[in-house]
């Protein structure tokens, strides 16, 4: 089953895919662009992975001062950075390199504490698509990636659909693809994750209890390019969803 959370007509609804848009839980059928899409589940802790695809590590190797080690590179995000499908993400006027990252987002459904990899998938509720923007101009080498790069308002896009784990037989066999204004700029495959989902859940749950709604953003493959104001960025994962985001400028924020 696929579900979304949308705002329509003054209330927040659970919505389902429909031939011409979405069907609200109350029976109404509405065009996709007539609703406001929210992140598709009640989001708890946002756990993000850096450098989790071998090809992306190679892509960034020139600027890495320390090579990717065995321990996963993990960082957290706060709630203010979240955004839904068809949302607008601000690109500050003073930057030269802001890029998307298409990532498989793994949603925890059952509390996980010291879970072994072999048992880990039983703790997964489902999946969605994430576009985890970064602004490289703001990178500093202190607790990197620093929050000014990765925890900006509206820079972590989730959706459109939450897809039940039961409907995704193998989450490590999915194609990821990003296009900017219709041109494909990034392609990858979840089989190329350095640390797969069971390994990540085992690693994380050893020191932190994972709870329902916590989400693991599993990293991005290579092919990240700069985006400009006005660009439409579509991050898509086979069988999970097609997540649309538009880059906007400072002006509408009064900056």
């Amino acid at each position: 089953m696929k579900t979304a959370r949308v705002a329509f007509g003054g209330a927040i609804h659970t919505a389902y895919p429909d031939e011409h848009g979405v069907r609200l839980a109350d029976g109404r059928r509405v065009p996709e662009d007539a609703v406001v899409w929210l992140p598709p589940f009640d989001v708890g802790t946002v756990i993000a992975l850096g450098l989790n695809y071998a090809d992306h590590v190679k892509e960034l190797s020139k600027e890495l001062t320390v090579s990717a080690k065995d321990e996963p590179l993990v960082f957290f995000k706060g709630p203010g950075t979240l955004l839904g499908h068809r949302g607008h993400t601000r690109r500050p006027a003073d930057v030269s390199f802001m890029h998307y990252e298409c990532e498989l987002a793994v949603v925890i459904g059952r509390e996980a504490r010291r879970v072994r990899a072999g048992d880990a998938m039983a703790h997964v509720a489902g999946y969605t698509v994430c576009n985890d923007y970064a602004i490289r101009d703001y990178l500093e080498n202190w607790y990197r990636p620093n929050l000014r790069v990765k925890n900006r308002d509206g820079c972590t896009v989730l959706g459109p659909w939450f897809v039940d784990a039961a409907d995704v037989p193998d989450p490590h066999a999915l194609t990821l693809r990003t296009s900017v204004n219709g041109k494909i700029t990034q392609q990858g495959h979840t089989a190329n994750m350095i640390n797969g989902i069971p390994a990540l859940i085992e690693y994380l749950s050893e020191f932190m209890t994972l709870r329902p709604g916590d989400v693991i953003l599993t990293g991005t493959p290579d092919g990240v390019v700069n985006v400009e104001v006005g660009d439409e960025v579509v991050t898509e994962i086979e069988g999970i969803g097609r997540l649309v985001n538009t880059i906007v400028g400072d002006d509408i924020f009064g900056r």
Partner: protein
């Protein structure tokens, strides 16, 4: 693993659960790094606030038993002033930043000590975000009751003995400046907690010890440390 709810069920008197902590906000912490500030992997001193996120699994109440993992001698007691946000804060000017503060609490930003020249390079979540690693005091002191949040004595006691004394005065970014710099790129919401950050040379505490943190005018936060289970 729950944040204190104080006495009302509405933000900011019920914390949102979002906790952001300043790191390396004591100039002595950077000074202690010496030339390493300019070497690999840092290459330059931080130009903007150095921040971490304390996720919800780290939140602990007054009196909590915080687990010292097996094989770890002691934990760093990052006694910090906790700034409770009272109003949505986006691009707040330093001059008016204290207007968005609802009040203050005592927080212990606990971490497993890390060594080596690159210890400040990565977020180090395994060292900083373990279950219970963010005990929060149960008393919120309204902003109006605190005359100057940038001049408060901070004391750490272990088993009743004073082991560390510092002041919120010695900070690269004051309370107002920190709010201004953080809200430039991320909006803070009512009930969010922003930590001013611990002082240089945070004391280590061992399993079995009783921890008490006192901040002038804010009361006390007490909790204890217990030994972790042996892994199978």
């Amino acid at each position: 693993m729950t944040a204190p709810e104080f006495s009302f069920e509405v933000a900011p008197y019920r914390l949102s659960g979002a906790v952001y902590g300043a790191l390396l906000n004591d100039p002595l912490q950077l000074a202690a790094l010496g030339d390493a500030l300019y070497g690999a992997p840092y290459k330059a001193p931080p130009a903007h606030p150095v921040l971490s996120v304390k996720p919800r699994n780290t939140l602990a109440e007054e009196g909590a038993a915080v687990v010292v993992p097996q094989g770890v001698d002691g934990l760093e007691m990052g006694a910090s002033l906790g700034i409770v946000i009272g109003r949505a804060a986006c691009r707040v000017a330093q001059q008016s930043a204290l207007d968005v503060v609802a009040g203050y609490v005592i927080v212990n930003d606990i971490s497993v000590p890390q060594s080596g020249p690159a210890r400040h390079y990565r977020p180090g979540v395994r060292h900083r975000a373990r279950d219970g690693f963010c005990p929060i005091g149960s008393q919120l002191i309204a902003a109006g009751m605190v005359r100057n949040p940038d001049s408060l004595a901070v004391r750490v006691y272990l088993d009743g003995m004073l082991v560390h004394e510092s002041s919120t005065a010695r900070r690269t970014r004051s309370v107002a400046r920190l709010i201004a710099d953080v809200s430039e790129f991320m909006t803070l919401q009512p009930g969010d907690l922003l930590l001013l950050g611990a002082a240089h040379d945070a004391p280590l505490a061992r399993a079995g010890q009783a921890v008490l943190i006192e901040i002038e005018g804010l009361g006390r936060l007490a909790h204890r440390l217990v030994a972790g289970p042996v892994h199978a």
